[in-house]
Symmetry: C2
Subunit: 401 residues, 2 copies
DNA sequence: AAATATAATTTAATACTTAAAATAAGTCTT
DNA sequence: AAGACTTATTTTAAGTATTAAATTATATTT
C-alpha cells in the first residue's frame, strides 16, 4: 500500500479496511463493522453507501433484534464481478470461475500435449478455457475482473513480468503480456506455491495468521511465505525457493544441477530413490508408489519404516531451518505428497522440527496440513486478482483520485 | 506503523516522512524536502514550523542562490536529545553516547568479570556506564531519549521483553524491566546482530536497500534481515537465526546440541576445528589464529588453502540457502571473523553463492563487506532508540493524539 | 398505542491538505 | 542605487475527511 499523504487517501484506505474486513470475515452489520474496525459509525455509513451505490456491496436483510432497530447486514455483492483462477500444470490446465465472494461457479479442464512450442499451446488453451468459462456462466468479458494464473516456475517481477520454467525450456518468457493480448482480460501471474499460500492464508487453515509458511510437496517442492499477513516476495519475487536449499553437503544429485537439495530427498522422485536405496521396489507411477509406501509404513513394514524415518529427519531439518530463519507462527504442509506424508507422520515431524530448531522459535509454532483441496492453486490464482481488486478498488469505483 | 484512519494521523504520518527523510538524507531546504517527499510546499512549511518550535529541527543558514530568495536549510537539531547505545559483550560492555544526528560524543568501556550472578553485574555496569557518559557530556537524564542495548542472545518480544543467553544460563530473564528500573531511562533491547543490521541498513553500506541480509561471523554466527526497508522480526522476534540452520546432515557436533549447524563450521571455533582436522595447529587465541590462517592462505600455504576452500564452500552454501529463501538484493558480511574471511575470499564466496542459489535470485545480488567498524553494535543499539523516536515522535512533541 | 431500545443517518464542529495568492529575500540590470 | 526579476516561503481560501452529538428510523415491549 502506498504511503498516505492526502486526505483523499484516507477515504481510500478506510474503504479498503471495510472491504477487506467483509471479504475475510463474511457479511455483517454496519454496527459490527464499526466495532471491529474501530471506524466510527458515521464513517461506516458513508463508505458503505458509496460501495452500495457502486454495486460492490449489497444489503442482505436484517439481524434478529431483541428491542431496538435491527441491524441491516451488508455483504460483498458476489455478482459485482467475477474472477478466473488457472492452475497451469504440466499435464493439464485447470480453469475455474469464481464470483466476487469466491464461490466456485464453473470449471474446465484442458489436456496438455507434448508439443514443440509449449508456450503457444498454453496461450491457446487459456484463450479457449476463458471463453469456455464465460460461456458456461453466461457472462460477458466486462464482468470478469481478471485472470490469475499459477505456474510451476519462477515468476520474476522486474519491470515486466516474466516466467522461467526449466521443463519447458522457458528462460524468461513475457507470458503475462502474451496471455493478456490473447485473452483480452487483465492477467496476473505468480508461482503456483505462492498462489496456493495466498489462498491458504485467506481462506484456508491460515486465516488470520500473520506469519506462516506453506510447504508444497509433490514432484517438486515449493514454499510460500506470509509475513505480516501478506505474501513475502523478496526483491525480485523469487523468495521462498525452499526446495533447492541444501541440507546435505555433497549430497544427492538434484535435477537442478546442485547437490544435496531438499527436493532431491523430499520430492516424490527423491522419496522413491531413497526407497530403492533401502532395497525397496516402488512402482513407476509416483502417486501410487508414494501411497503404497505410506501404507506399508503404517502396516509396520521395516523397509518402509526406515525410509519414512529418514524422510522425517530430512524434512524436519528442512522445516527447522525455515523456522529458524523466518520464525513463523504456523507451518502448513500441502501438495499431494505432502498430504500423504504429513497425514502419516505429522507428530514425528513436529517432534523433529522442535528438536532441530531454536526452542524460542518453536514454542508457539504449530504444524498442520493444508485445508484447501485439489483446486487450491486455482483458488489462490483467483486470489491474485481479488487482491488487486481489493487494493485498487477505488480507482475503479470512484472519481479521479 | 499503525493504520491511518483519522485526519490527525495524516499529520503524524507526514511529520514522520519529513523527519525520516532528514535523518537518512541529511539537512536540506524545505524546497528539496517538498520535491523529494512529494509533499506540498505549504505542508512542509506547516510541519517544519511545528518541529522548529518544538526544537526537533533547527535552521542552518542559506543555500547559494543565483537569483531569487535563497533556500533556508533545515536540519535535525543534534542537541534536541541524546541516545545511548550499548554493546553488551561477554568480556566487556561498550557504551556510547550519540546526539540526535548520530554523532558519537563519548564512550566508556567496562570490563566484565566472571561472577556468580552475571545479570546483577551487567545491571550494575549499565547503571555506572550511563552515569559516566552523562557526566562526561554534562547532560542531565531528561536529555537522554533512551538506552538501546545489543545483546549476544535471543530477545523475545512476547508480551514483555525477555532475553535468553545460554552462556550466562539466562533462560528468559526480564532484562528490560530490570535495566529500566536501575537506569531510570527508557530502555530498548535487541539481539546484537539485529542492532548491527539496523545500523548497517541506515548508515552503512545498506543505505536505501529495501531487502538485504547482514551476516555476522565471530565466535558465534548471527544474521539480521531487512525486508521492505525494515528489520524483519518474525512472530516472536527470533527470525534470522541463521547460525543454527543445518547444512550437513549428521554433521559436526555444535555447541547448541545440534549436528551440522552452520556455526559449527563457520564460527571461529569451527574454522579452527577444520584447520586441526586438516593437520594444522592453530593458536589458542581465536582472533590471532584466524588471522594467521588467512595470512597463510594468502601466502599459498596448501593446508590453509584447503581449509579456506572448504570454508568457502560451506559458507557459500549457507548464504545461498539464505538467498533462495529471502531473495535479498544485497548480502553484507561483518563480524571480526567475517571481515577477515570476507576480505580474503569475497570473490570465491560470491562465485560459490551464485553457483548454489537460483540464478534469478542471484542475478541482481551483490555481496559486500560491512562498512561500520568496531562500534557497529553500539550504533545499531542507539538506532533502536532513534527508531522509536522517529515513530513515536509526535507523542512526545504534540498534544493529545 | 405509547414507551423503550437500538441502528443508522445527518449535522455541526474540527482537522488536514492543497492550489493559488501574497510576501520575503535574494540577484541582476541599468 | 533603484527597480526589475527570480525564487522560496508563508498565508489564505477552498475542498475534503473524520467524528461526536443530535436526529431519525425501525424494531420490541408493555
Amino acid at each position: 500500500m502506498k504511503p498516505l499523504r492526502r486526505t483523499v487517501d484516507l477515504r481510500q484506505a478506510n474503504t479498503q479496511v471495510i472491504l477487506r474486513h467483509l471479504c475475510f470475515n463474511g457479511s455483517m452489520s454496519r454496527m459490527e463493522i464499526s466495532l471491529q474496525t474501530q471506524l466510527s459509525a458515521g464513517m461506516v455509513t458513508n463508505v458503505t453507501s458509496e460501495l452500495l451505490q457502486s454495486g460492490v456491496l449489497i444489503e442482505k436483510g436484517l439481524e434478529e433484534s431483541s428491542g431496538g432497530r435491527p441491524r441491516t447486514i451488508v455483504d460483498i455483492n458476489p455478482r459485482h464481478g467475477y474472477l478466473i483462477g488457472v492452475d497451469l500444470g504440466e499435464t493439464q490446465v485447470a480453469l475455474e470461475l469464481f464470483d466476487l465472494k469466491m464461490n466456485k461457479l464453473c470449471t474446465t479442464l484442458e489436456p496438455v500435449a507434448q508439443e514443440e512450442d509449449m508456450l503457444a499451446q498454453y496461450i491457446c488453451i487459456l484463450q479457449r478455457g476463458c471463453q469456455n468459462l464465460m460461456m458456461q456462466a453466461g457472462l460477458s468479458p466486462e464482468k470478469i475482473l481478471g485472470v490469475g494464473i499459477g505456474v510451476p516456475g519462477i515468476v520474476e517481477h522486474n519491470g515486466q513480468v516474466s516466467v522461467a520454467a526449466p521443463m519447458w525450456n522457458w528462460r524468461s518468457e513475457p507470458v503475462l503480456e502474451l496471455v493478456e493480448q490473447a485473452v483480452g482480460l487483465p492477467v496476473y501471474i505468480d508461482n503456483g506455491a505462492k498462489a496456493m499460500t495466498l489462498a491458504e492464508s485467506w481462506f484456508g487453515a491460515g486465516r488470520g495468521v500473520q506469519d506462516m509458511a506453506v510447504i508444497l510437496i509433490g514432484t517438486g517442492i515449493g514454499a510460500g511465505i506470509i509475513t505480516k499477513g501478506a505474501l513475502y516476495r523478496g526483491a525480485t519475487n523469487s523468495a521462498g525457493e525452499w526446495g533447492h536449499t541444501k541440507i546435505v553437503l555433497h549430497g544427492r544429485q538434484c535435477r537442478c544441477g546442485g547437490q544435496g537439495c531438499l527436493e532431491a530427498y523430499v520430492g516424490a522422485p527423491g522419496i522413491l530413490a531413497s526407497q530403492r536405496e533401502a532395497g525397496g521396489h516402488p512402482q513407476d507411477d509416483q502417486f501410487v508408489a508414494v501411497g503404497q509406501l505410506v501404507d506399508a509404513y503404517q502396516r509396520g513394514d521395516p523397509t518402509a519404516e526406515r525410509v519414512m524415518q529418514d524422510l522425517t529427519q530430512v524434512l524436519g531439518i528442512g522445516i527447522a531451518n525455515l523456522v529458524n530463519l523466518f520464525n513463523p507462527e504456523r507451518i502448513e504442509i500441502g501438495g499431494w505428497a505432502g498430504l500423504l506424508i504429513g497425514g502419516a507422520l505429522l507428530d514425528d515431524l513436529t517432534a523433529c522440527v522442535k528438536q532441530n530448531a531454536l526452542p524460542l522459535s518453536t514454542k508457539e509454532l504449530s504444524i498442520s496440513l493444508c485445508q484447501l483441496g485439489e483446486d487450491a492453486i486455482c483458488t489462490g490464482a483467483a486470489c491474485l486478482v481479488l487482491e488487486e481488486f481489493l487494493s485498487a478498488n477505488l480507482k475503479f469505483n470512484r472519481g479521479i483520485y
